[in-house]
Symmetry: C2
Subunit: 229 residues, 2 copies
Amino acid sequence: MATRSGRSQRRTEALSRERIVTAAIELLDAAGESGLTFRVLTERLATGPGAIYWHVANKGELVGAATEAVITAALATAPADSPRAEIRAVALGLFEAIEQHPWLATQLSAQLSGNPWGAVTPRIFECVGRQIRALDVPEQDWFTATSALVHYILGAAGQNAANAQVAGSESDRAEFLANAQAEWDRLDPGEYSFLRAVAGQMREHDDREQFLAGIDLVLAGVHALRPKG
Amino acid sequence: MATRSGRSQRRTEALSRERIVTAAIELLDAAGESGLTFRVLTERLATGPGAIYWHVANKGELVGAATEAVITAALATAPADSPRAEIRAVALGLFEAIEQHPWLATQLSAQLSGNPWGAVTPRIFECVGRQIRALDVPEQDWFTATSALVHYILGAAGQNAANAQVAGSESDRAEFLANAQAEWDRLDPGEYSFLRAVAGQMREHDDREQFLAGIDLVLAGVHALRPKG
DNA sequence: ACCTGAACACCGTTCAAGT
DNA sequence: ACCTGAACACCGTTCAAGT
């Protein structure tokens, strides 16, 4: 009657780095960074740990490869007809990738902070930077402008993902927002007067619009750098 | 002849949450997040794990408390005479805190992304947001402006800390920069034309100046939001 | 070349027992 | 109330052995 194990059936296909990475992404999506374990990975792929270590150096490299796979797909957006539109498209692509794979937020910021395993962040920098160059920003400001944009994109997208993650369904979301607001309202009004003032407006805005408004703000700053005339 | 243990001598002072957090910060500074272990913490404080768990719920809370202690000190800057100067002071305070305690970068971004243990990020938001409010930005833009600034500050400071960390001494720094540049130069010129173009200028700039230039860029964007006239 | 699976060193956490 | 320290469940990683 009872089959031996629910998850791992046939094991017909051979193991490969790609299959391992795919399984790793599924586990990360399902339960976050702590949900990716060599035991459960091993079980789902119906092998032993040694088999995985044959294809992958260690856990860090595995998570790095997972990050790279997801981000590479996200960066492959259709070319738009202006640098500004292109930046918005890339930003939204990353926003949605992080929304669907919240573990990316921590991972990307760790990679920006020098984590050695795999580096997609140069690719993100390059991708955004090209569009900055396409606007006529003075060359000396390229790095400043690009890094302001990239940090905003990754940070804001990560923060959004955290909310979306807790939120879940629509009714969950309403409840979550109500709770969050209640918690903010409980803050000492004198010590947190700004947060309290801003809490209401946060609730009404659409996440995506809010996010893009930030992009526009940074782009307005970039625009101000352009040579006058 | 031989004393029992090199590190932990007298053990005269009683254990306390504060002493535990202080020791935790030292370990984090010395060897990063993975360097903080209940075994070595236990050894340095000359106790058992149970004693620590009496004062602290778990490792997450401990790291959260360490973060809070350091950030609280960093946010206590002398009041400046303009919102803009105040923002720059707060930003530089955080920049330096993260430079001296690189583990903060990952920790803060994790807290922004909804990590439950301790939350200093509302304090940072409040601190920056108050100055945004003091500039005459339309109220509907407060959140956007503040989050653009905060994400830039935390992201850029974290990235700087990563470099500073590897760099170490001055000669190390020169070697590190040379290596980094060599690695960038090795990138495919077609695929990474922007990164290559920007590599040179990155090397010349002072880290702090570079960082503040980004703050100014975002502030220029904020300025563009102000009511015309 | 690719995979197996037992074994190793280490981790955070618990808890009965002491003072 | 505060601390001790053995024990537990679990983790990433290794490696001799198989095919």
